[in-house]
Every structure is written in structure tokens, then in C-alpha cells.
């Protein structure tokens, strides 16, 4: 085993593998920064180029290296401009962008990048450590449990992300309803499509997310007439402060990384969902919950590490069973076959060095990209002090290009504008936006699992111990802050009662 670990490490650093890794990082860096074009689409585009690469490790250096850094650089766009750089970076807007507004962009970026490196490392180590227990880990949850997890996700975010519990849950419900638009996955019947073929494919997450989060911020920036940062440019330190924050909250970062890993392992769920759960978890732990959404660094650290640690988790079902755990892994699996590697349990015996090389690629690529980021971070943070009127055209361009490139459909722009308007009014009237997005993402997944659970087990699945346990966890997590709040209030009120 030790031999394979060392051999994997040197194979990644050997030439030309390392060259491919740098090339992958370079592409992934830009793909992550630009909104819309995601890691998955880029992986699909780059796959044919990897056909010419001869050895598996060189191919993975290119493909996996690219995929690994998109999550990290996507965080930067979310924090600086309030525009999600990647679908899996949207949660960083919630507290990262307010930090930029407070003039703390440097600190937020430092925290995001450092937590990404830590998250990626924990994800990669989990991959290595879980090799003996991979199978039970993947098989632990069946369709009924996965259905409850989807409901849990919407509930967590609905109750934790906003000030009002009712508004949060309602927004989550609206998200679930929006998820019903399109072709029903079981029978192929059409729902709420109103004769439009565009709506057959369901609402795409990217234009909805970009519209919902970015447009209101741009409008706000235009109305304010200042730079993104509302405080004048002082000394641009803070980056190291963010790095320190990561280690100050090491226990939170560790837990959120594990959340990411497990969502990576579970089929269908992934970084897009893990980031929100991690955010909810981070916010829930705040001593003063009113800080959430106003630039709490914990809200950056949580999703920052979780969306990177999922990559390690993603690889687990791919290696344990030869069954891809996510769409991007399905593409990687194709690449494995092409370079003559049969993904699956056989890999753990015959090509353990390749498995460890993948672990090393995840770690090394994130360290390299963090290094690059720290070099240019101050320049990036300086963008938040540029006058808004100079920045807005550029941001709008990013927003619309980002929406358009996902499907090359003009309707995506319409969706962006509609959800931009919706987002604006949601902000205006104090409705939280994350539950809506998560409802939209989880609606489809949840529907499938509900259907399968009922078809396979009738109503019996409702009484499975694992299902009951998950329901109990959901209730506890939702009720706990409320109870805590009541107790706190009771404690304060007691002296008065005594009088």
C-alpha cells in the first residue's frame, strides 16, 4: 500500500504528467472564474483531447486536475461580484459577497481558498482512507433514505438560511414546484410546459441561479452608485486573516468537508447540494444567528471546503463499483476505459498506484491553484473598490454570457431576467433565495426517489428505522435553534419574573 502511495505521488510529478496537470489547472482556473461554463461541460469538451494521451495517470492529471480547480476559482467570482462562478459556488455569495461589500474581500478570498485546499485534501484523504469500507459506505442509503435526505436539505436551508422560518419553507416549496416543470421522468408526460419545447428540459439551474443571485446585486450596485465595497479602500491585508480564519474554525471546516465527502459518495447528490447543506450547518453553529448573510466568515468556510471535498467522495462509487457517482465521474469513467483502465474494484488490486495518483492529483492541483490565487489575490480584491458604473457593464456581460453558454439557448437569457426580477423582489421583501434554488435542484431528485420508494416498498418504507432516524435528525436540527432561543430568552426573563 505504502509503495502504491509513493509511486502514485512520483507518477503525478513525473514529466509529462505534471505538464498535463498544469495545463488542466490553467483551463480549470478560467472555467471556474467565468460564470456559466461549468467543470462538467468543460470536461465533456476536453475529453476527446485526452484520447491522444497514452497513460491513465497523464490523462487524469489533465482531466481531474481541471475538474478539481473549477470549484476553487468559482468561489472567487461568487465572493467578488455576487455572481456564481460555478453552480457549486452559489452558496458562497450569501456571506462572501457581503464581506466584499464591507471591504473584507481579501479576507473572504483567503478563507475561501484556504478552506478549498483543506476541503480538497480531506476529500482526497477520505478517498484513500475509505478504500477498505467503500462498499458499505455507498450502499448505506437506499431510495427511501435518499428521498428523506432531499427533503431534509430543503428543510435545513428553509429554516436556517433566512430570518423567517415560514418564508424560508415557502420559498423552498416554490422551488420544489418549479422543479415539476418539464417532462415527467417516469412516464414522459408534460407538466407546465405550456407548449414550449424549451421547458421540456426543465429549468436549467445555471440561468436560474445567475438570475436570482447576480441580477439583484447588480441592480443594487447601480442604485448605490458606489463601488462594490462600501467602505473606502484601506490597506489590502486581510488575506492572511482569511487563512487564519480557516484554522481558527478548523472543527467547522472539518465537519463541512465530511458533509461534502458524503454528498459526493451518494449517487445523484453532489457539490451543488453539499454546498448548501454545509452553509446551513455553518450558519446554524453561529452564536449570533443574525450575523448570517451579513458577512460571517463561517458562511464562506462551510461551502468553500464542502464543494471541494465532494470530488474525493465522487470518486468512491466509481472506484468501488465501476458505477459513476455523478455526471462528471461518468465522463471520467469513459476516459478511464479509453486509456485502457477498467474502472471498478479491479483497480484497487491491479492499479492501486493509479487510485492514489488520483488522490494526489486532487491535493496537488488545489495547492498549486491556491498558490497562484494568493499571488493575484490583492489585485482581485482591488476590483471591489472600482467604481460601480465601470464594473456594471462587465458584470452584465459575464451574467448573460454565463447564462447563454450553458445551453446556447436564447430562452436561458429570458429565464435569467425573469429570475433576476424575482430575486430583486425577494431581496426587497426579505424572502430568502437559497431555499428556492435548493428546492429546484432537489425537486427532481426527490420526486424520483419518492416514486421508486413507493413502487418498491409501498408505504412500508416510511417505517424503516433509517428513515425514521433521518426524520428525527431533521426535526431536531430544525427545532434546536428555536428551543435554544426560547431557553435563552427564558433565562433573561427569569430575573424579571422573580421580581
Amino acid at each position: 500500500m505504502l509503495e502504491a502511495i509513493v509511486s502514485g505521488f512520483w507518477q503525478v510529478l513525473a514529466w509529462p504528467a505534471f505538464g498535463y496537470l498544469l495545463l488542466g489547472i490553467l483551463i480549470g482556473f478560467w472555467v471556474g472564474l467565468l460564470p456559466g461554463i461549468g467543470g462538467l461541460a468543460t470536461l465533456a469538451m476536453m475529453l476527446p483531447f485526452s484520447y491522444t494521451i497514452k497513460t491513465p495517470i497523464e490523462a487524469f492529471c489533465f482531466l481531474l486536475g481541471m475538474l478539481a480547480v473549477t470549484g476553487t476559482t468559482g468561489d472567487l467570482t461568487s465572493i467578488l461580484f455576487g455572481i456564481p462562478g460555478e453552480g457549486s459556488s452559489a452558496a458562497l455569495i450569501l456571506d462572501g459577497y457581503p464581506m466584499s461589500k464591507k471591504g473584507e474581500a481579501g479576507r473572504a478570498l483567503g478563507a475561501a481558498i484556504m478552506s478549498s485546499v483543506v476541503g480538497a485534501t480531506i476529500g482526497a484523504l477520505s478517498l484513500a482512507l475509505s478504500i477498505p469500507i467503500m462498499r458499505p459506505l455507498v450502499l448505506l442509503f437506499g431510495s427511501p433514505e435518499l428521498f428523506i435526505i432531499t427533503i431534509m436539505g430543503v428543510t435545513f436551508i428553509g429554516t436556517l438560511a433566512g430570518a423567517s422560518l415560514i418564508k424560508g419553507l415557502l420559498a423552498g416549496g416554490v422551488g420544489l414546484m418549479l422543479a415539476a416543470i418539464g417532462v415527467d421522468p417516469q412516464t414522459g408526460s408534460l407538466r407546465y410546459t405550456f407548449g414550449s419545447l424549451y421547458l421540456w428540459d426543465r429549468l436549467d439551474i445555471v440561468p436560474v441561479t445567475v438570475g436570482l443571485f447576480a441580477i439583484p446585486e447588480i441592480v443594487d450596485l447601480a442604485v448605490r452608485g458606489t463601488s462594490i465595497s462600501q467602505v473606502p479602500r484601506g490597506k489590502l491585508s486581510g488575506v492572511m486573516e482569511g487563512v487564519k480564519d480557516t484554522f481558527r474554525h478548523w472543527w467547522l471546516v472539518f465537519r463541512c468537508s465530511l458533509i461534502g465527502v458524503y454528498f459526493g459518495i451518494l449517487p445523484v447528490l453532489g457539490a451543488n447540494i453539499a454546498q448548501w447543506i454545509a452553509y446551513a450547518h455553518a450558519v446554524q453553529g453561529l452564536k449570533d444567528r443574525s450575523r448570517a448573510g451579513k458577512g460571517a466568515v463561517e458562511g464562506v468556510l462551510g461551502p468553500g471546503c464542502a464543494n471541494n471535498s465532494t470530488r474525493g467522495g465522487d470518486l468512491i462509487p466509481t472506484i468501488a463499483f465501476g458505477i459513476p457517482g455523478s455526471a462528471s465521474m461518468a465522463l471520467l469513467l469513459g476516459a478511464m476505459l479509453i486509456v485502457g483502465l477498467q474502472p471498478g474494484p479491479e483497480m484497487l488490486k491491479s492499479r492501486l498506484d493509479v487510485t492514489f495518483a488520483m488522490v494526489w492529483i486532487l491535493i496537488i492541483s488545489n495547492i498549486i491553484v491556491a498558490g497562484i490565487c494568493f499571488l493575484i489575490l490583492n489585485h482581485l480584491a482591488a476590483l471591489t473598490f472600482v467604481r460601480g458604473s465601470l464594473l456594471i457593464p462587465f458584470l452584465l456581460f459575464l451574467v448573460f454570457i454565463g447564462s447563454f453558454t450553458t445551453n446556447n439557448s436564447i430562452y436561458d437569457l429570458v429565464v435569467t431576467i425573469i429570475f433576476g426580477l424575482l430575486g430583486y423582489f425577494m431581496v426587497l421583501y426579505g424572502w430568502p433565495r437559497p431555499p428556492l434554488i435548493l428546492g429546484l435542484i432537489l425537486g427532481k431528485i426527490g420526486e424520483n426517489y419518492l416514486w421508486i420508494s413507493t413502487a418498491a416498498y409501498g408505504a412500508k418504507w416510511l417505517l424503516f428505522p433509517s428513515v425514521l432516524a433521518l426524520i428525527a435528525v431533521t426535526i431536531i436540527v430544525v427545532a434546536y435553534p428555536t428551543i435554544k432561543e426560547r431557553r435563552r430568552r427564558a433565562r433573561y426573563e427569569r430575573p424579571e419574573d422573580a421580581i
Partner: protein, 355 residues
């Protein structure tokens, strides 16, 4: 006079200039017409499954090799539009894509069932698709977890509780193959639909949520987890749909043997023919109706040439993609044959499809 001649000259030179211009433009247009249509263009293959599915692997392999046989060597892009058993992709190709020969679809071979049973979601006429070709015919089979009491198809027939099989939707073989056996020889299956992909079903089988799945023999011998499963004896195969037993499954009975054994009546056999025709269609590539005939010919020729390309064959073997190509002309004939069915067969087919 002089001035008149001068005028004539001027008129002549004007006419000459004009003539040169006309000739020039005509020539340029001629040149443009001679440049191959596909030069500098992109062809999109709309794949009706998620990335990584066998349909997708075929599409991406073909996308890599077919350009060299298309004059003008266009770029080929594979785009995944998954869902509803590729019905979405088929509708998209038929209705949204322009019939310019720049969009192809890689769709399920069984979508004609939905048309025959008159489903309103079907926005295409199967016979009017422009058929390009299919890289392979696909015979099906069913695997069953070996640790269950269903050792043979007879056990399924005699079982009190039918085994649960996973499927992605009613238009997938995972759904209708077991149902066909139920109709022909009375072996009941409980089909659970709603899984996102074949891989999700295989995971559910590992968990024991469902215990069987019907799909192509090709995929079963092409990739994990099936290599491991076969080696460990995790599953056994209960039936196969080819006319003859597949050499890799020598002890698994075919549907025809089973129909003989259980004396399936003639109408049942006709039903089997209609439904199993999907296997003969294989993994078809289609274009929207009304693609200009010269481009159809280019695409069909390129397709068959690709199938016989030694490099492609070697690469397909490396990727474990089986090749047994069917030409566009054959597919077109098959499409017309299956759509022309009497109402009683259509009714029984609908029953098999759970409608």
C-alpha cells in the same frame, strides 16, 4: 461619327464589364457550390442518455471517427439530452433541429412503441425520421441476483411474489422486456421505474432494493460492475432475446425456445416480433425528416465506412463497444414495417407497455 464610335466603344466596354462581372459571380458561386457543404461546419449528435451511458460511448466514438468520411471534415459534438427514455431527444431532433443534416440524434430503438400506442407526448412520426444507421443490433437479457429464489425463468413463473426489477422508464427495455415475457409465457415481474440511469439501477441491485434488470447483452459484457459480478457469481442470467443463443450465454434459453416450451399462440409470436424489432434497430442514429437527399447519402455512406474503418474497429474493441452495423436503408424499411400493425397487436403491445 467619331463620337458615335466612341459611344459604341463605351457601351461595348460597359457590356463587357457587365459580362465579366456576371461571369465572375457565376464562377464564384460555382466555386462555392463545389466547396463541400460540411466544410467548416459543426454536426451535433443529440444523445438521449446521460454522459457515460453506452449510447453515449458509441456516439462519442463515432463522433471521433466519422468526420474523415464526410467531405469537408466537419467537427462533431455530442450533446446529452437525457430523460423519458430518450423521448425528449427524439422530439427535439424531429421538431426543433433544422433538417440541414447538421443535427443527428442517438435515440432508443423502442420509441415507436409510444407512437403505436398513440401517446400524445410523441411529437414525431417514426417512419419519417431520416435513418442514418446503427452501429450494432442489440439483443437483450435479464440478470437476477443469484442469492434470490429465482434461479430460472420457471421459478419466476411459479413464484407467488414477482421479483422487483429496476428500470428508467416505460420506454426502456428494463421495463418492457420483462413485461413481454409476462405476456408471452406468464412469468410475472414487478417493475420499479424512476431510476436516473442504468448505473443507478445497478447500485440499487447491490443494495438489494431491486434484484433484476433487463438490458443489452453488449453492455453486460462491456464494463463494470458486470465483470466483477460474473466473476463472483453475484447474478445469473434468466433469458435472452436473440434468435440464437449468444455464444457468451450458452446456457441461457432464448425467447423463441421458451415460446416453444410454453406453446405461445401465433398472435403472441407476432407481438414478440413487433417488440423485438427494437433489438434489430439496435442503437439508431437519426436526422430530422426532410434532410436533402445528397446529404443523407453522404451521412449514410460515411456511417457505414466508419463502421468498416479498421482503426475505428480496433478502438471500439478497446472500448468494448460491439459492432454489428445496420444500414440506414435497412432501418428505414424496419421502421415502416413496425408502424404498420393491426389494432389487436397494438392493443396487446400497449398492455405490455403498462398503458
Amino acid at each position: 461619327m467619331k463620337s458615335e464610335k466612341c459611344k459604341m466603344d463605351r457601351v461595348n466596354s460597359l457590356i463587357l464589364t457587365f459580362a465579366i462581372c456576371v461571369l465572375h459571380f457565376a464562377f464564384v458561386r460555382e466555386l462555392q457550390a463545389q466547396a463541400p457543404f460540411y466544410q467548416g461546419k459543426n454536426i451535433t449528435i443529440v444523445v438521449g442518455t446521460k454522459a457515460g451511458d453506452v449510447y453515449d460511448l458509441y456516439a462519442r466514438a463515432i463522433a471521433q471517427y466519422i468526420p474523415k468520411y464526410i467531405p469537408g471534415n466537419p467537427n462533431i459534438i455530442a450533446q446529452n439530452i437525457a430523460g423519458a427514455g430518450s423521448l425528449i431527444a427524439a422530439n427535439q431532433v424531429y421538431n426543433v433541429a433544422k433538417p440541414d443534416g447538421l443535427t443527428l440524434g442517438a435515440i432508443f430503438p423502442a420509441l415507436y412503441f409510444d407512437q403505436l400506442s398513440g401517446r400524445t407526448e410523441v411529437k414525431f412520426d417514426w417512419t419519417k425520421f431520416t435513418w442514418i444507421g446503427s452501429p450494432t443490433v442489440s439483443n437483450h437479457f435479464i440478470y437476477m441476483r443469484a442469492d434470490t429464489p429465482y434461479k430460472t425463468i420457471d421459478d419466476v413463473r411459479n413464484a407467488k411474489e414477482p421479483p422487483k426489477c429496476g428500470s428508467t422508464g416505460t420506454a426502456s427495455t428494463g421495463y418492457y422486456m420483462p413485461k413481454l415475457f409476462e405476456e408471452l409465457i406468464g412469468s410475472k415481474f414487478n417493475i420499479i421505474t424512476g431510476y436516473q440511469s442504468g448505473g443507478d439501477i445497478d447500485l440499487a441491485v447491490e443494495r438489494g432494493e431491486v434484484i433484476c434488470r433487463s438490458f443489452t447483452i453488449t453492455a453486460y459484457f462491456a464494463r463494470e460492475p458486470f465483470h466483477t459480478w460474473r466473476k463472483k457469481g453475484f447474478v445469473r442470467e434468466l433469458f435472452q432475446t436473440g434468435k440464437k443463443r449468444d455464444p457468451r450465454l450458452p446456457s441461457v434459453p432464448t425467447i423463441y425456445e421458451l415460446m416453444d416450451k410454453y406453446k405461445t399462440p401465433e398472435s403472441g409470436r407476432r407481438l414478440a416480433t413487433v417488440i423485438l424489432a427494437a433489438g434489430d434497430v439496435g442503437r439508431p442514429y437519426v436526422a430530422p425528416p426532410g434532410v436533402p437527399a445528397d446529404r443523407v447519402k453522404i451521412l449514410r455512406d460515411a456511417f457505414m465506412k466508419t463502421m468498416n474503418d479498421p482503426e475505428f474497429k480496433a478502438d471500439a474493441e478497446k472500448r468494448m463497444l460491439e459492432l454489428d452495423p445496420v444500414s440506414g436503408e435497412e432501418l428505414e424499411a424496419l421502421a415502416k414495417e413496425v408502424i404498420a400493425q393491426p389494432p389487436d397487436i397494438v392493443e396487446r403491445m400497449k398492455k405490455v407497455l403498462g398503458q
